[in-house]
Structure formats: structure tokens, C-alpha cells
């Protein structure tokens, strides 16, 4: 996986499998401190201490269909090669919080890639879950909340193709406006 957007898509999928109702995705580009922070917070089932300790082991998975679980380890590696780190905190019943830091201008940092496409895919596949995408660049901020969109469109499903198209261009425009350099 060579784009942070793909990691976001992959990790948020874990939240949906943990039964989350809300998934909060936050990116913060801090050019002054040469730091890029990605935070994904959910209100899913959470993990106990043992599971949490094993979550970053590539040979640990909760799935029965295969014996490896590479999603989190690959993200951790992507962070570590840029001088960053991955911190995972969780408690049963309290959801899971993920915080990953990267060297913003480090030569090995993966580009953010198509964040709009990743969000559209998440929303299309999980229309019942509310997603927030929040992207900060210095003092500029962009926020997308599917909860707010759902209020506007009333009975039109959020995974309707027209709404997805709207979301895609909304994010693309928002990122341009805040001058994202990730």
C-alpha cells in the first residue's frame, strides 16, 4: 500500500467490523513542526489488553479465513520509516483510538493520495455509519460530516450515486481550499 488514503480506507474498515456507529478521521498537516498526524477514532467494540498488544503483530488476526493481519503493521511501518510512530489505544466498550505521526516532508513519507475516493468508498460501503473527515493545514480547516449531509438529503440514501459524486467534489474542493500539501 503506497498511499495514506488507502491505509485510511483499510483501517476504517476495521472500525466498521467492530460495530462502530461513528468513525472520525482527522488529518493534521503541521508545516511548522514538519509533522503529519492521522487520527482515526471509533465507537466500536474496542479491544482488551491482550488483543491490543497483539494488534500490531502481522501474524495475528481475528479472521478465520487467513492467518495474517497486515493492515496495522503496514501502517506502522509507513510511519516509522519517516521518523513517526503508531499509537493504538482501546478498551472494551470504549471504542478504539489510533494516532499515527509522519515526518511531513520526509522523503519516504507516502503521499496522501485520493482521500476523496477513499471516503466515497467508505461511505458507499457503509451507508449506516456516520463518518467525519477533518483535514487541517496550518490554521486552515476542512470538515465533512455525513451526519450533516444526511440531514439535508432526508430520505435520499447517502450512497446514491449523485450524493457520492457531490461528496467527492466537496472533499476535492475543500482540500484545494486549505492548500493541502500532503
Amino acid at each position: 500500500m503506497l498511499e495514506l488514503a488507502l491505509h485510511i480506507l483499510d483501517i476504517a474498515e476495521n472500525s466498521t467490523r467492530a460495530g462502530a456507529r461513528h468513525v472520525d478521521i482527522r488529518l493534521n498537516e503541521d508545516p511548522d513542526h514538519d509533522l503529519l498526524t492521522l487520527e482515526i477514532t471509533d465507537d466500536g467494540a474496542g479491544m482488551d489488553k491482550d488483543t491490543l498488544a497483539k494488534a500490531l503483530d502481522p501474524f495475528y488476526t481475528t479472521k478465520k479465513v487467513r492467518r495474517v493481519g497486515l493492515g496495522l503493521p503496514m501502517l506502522a511501518q509507513a510511519a516509522e520509516i519517516t521518523g513517526g510512530e503508531l499509537i493504538l489505544t482501546s478498551e472494551p466498550g470504549q471504542g478504539t483510538q489510533l494516532k499515527v505521526t509522519f515526518g511531513l516532508r520526509h522523503i519516504d513519507r507516502q503521499p496522501l493520495g485520493d482521500a476523496a475516493g477513499a471516503m466515497v468508498t467508505l461511505i458507499a460501503g457503509n451507508p449506516d455509519i456516520d463518518f467525519t473527515y477533518c483535514h487541517e493545514h496550518g490554521d486552515q480547516i476542512y470538515i465533512l460530516s455525513t451526519e450533516e449531509i444526511k440531514k439535508e438529503i432526508e430520505d435520499v440514501p447517502i450512497n446514491h450515486i449523485e450524493v457520492l459524486k457531490y461528496i467527492r467534489s466537496h472533499i476535492a474542493e475543500g482540500m484545494k481550499e486549505i492548500g493541502s500539501e500532503a
Binding site: M1, A5, L6, L9, D10, E13, R17, K63, K64, V65, R66, G69, L70, G71, M74, D114, G117, A118, V120, T121, A124, G125, N126, I149, E152, I153, E154, V156, N159, H160, I161, E162, V163, L164, K165, Y166, S169, H170, E173
Partner: protein, 127 residues
């Protein structure tokens, strides 16, 4: 391009309402793009992008798109399942955006199964 506003959402709502009044809101096809770590790493997002673009261009509204996790056949990803109402689901393997476009045009719209890309017919056992 004009700035995208909340007004655009209202317009979409009105347009969709007018559309669904014409047909009775039934979905004819369900397409599942498998989005496990393995799927994503081998290009499932590009497949998804291509599928959504095709649906948009064809202007059809009786197709549901969803995602699913890994089903254990990681080496054959990206996988796509096409279920047409009252027909056996068809699983396609080693998909990419071009194959997705072909499957959309020939199978989903015209009902002709694209045999060279087929992995299997029928439903998978749930994990």
C-alpha cells in the same frame, strides 16, 4: 467550477425524488467490491472508482454498490461479486478498472456473463 454548496444537495434531493417517482425504487443489481487489506493493496479502490464512474455515466439508478472484507482468496484479489435479481451471484477475479468497465457494460447492463474473468458462480459461505 462554481463553489459546491449545501444548495447542491437540495437540488440532488429534488432530482432523486422526481426520479424515484417514475420507477418504483427497486434495485435490480447489487455489486460488491471486496475491500480487505489484500483487495485494497491490489487495486480494489481503482475498481470501485471505475464502477462508480460507469454508473454515473450510464445514468442508471437501479444498481446498489457495496463493499465487503477479505474472504480468504487474497491472491485472486481484487474480487467483485455481481448479483442480478433472481440469478446466481457471479464472482470475478483479478479485476482492474478496464475489466470492471467491461463487466459493467456487458454483464450488469446487458446480462452477458464475462466468462474469462469469472472465478466462481454462487454465494460464498459467510465468515
Amino acid at each position: 467550477m462554481a463553489k459546491i454548496t449545501i444548495e447542491d444537495l437540495k437540488k440532488i434531493k429534488e432530482r432523486v425524488h422526481a426520479e424515484t417517482a417514475l420507477r418504483d425504487g427497486h434495485l435490480r443489481v447489487k455489486v460488491t467490491v471486496h475491500m480487505g487489506t489484500c483487495g485494497i493493496a491490489s487495486g480494489a479502490k481503482e475498481v470501485m472508482d471505475s464502477l462508480l464512474r460507469e454508473i454515473e455515466e450510464a445514468g442508471v439508478s437501479d444498481i446498489a454498490v457495496t463493499t465487503s472484507g477479505c474472504m480468504g482468496l487474497c491472491s485472486r484479489e481484487p474480487l467483485v461479486t455481481v448479483e442480478i435479481l433472481n440469478q446466481d451471484p457471479i464472482k470475478y477475479e483479478y479485476m482492474n478498472s478496464n475489466k470492471m468497465r467491461q463487466v459493467f457494460k456487458r454483464h450488469i447492463l446487458e446480462g452477458e456473463i464475462q466468462n474469462p474473468f469469472v472465478l466462481a458462480r454462487g454465494a460464498e459461505t459467510q465468515k
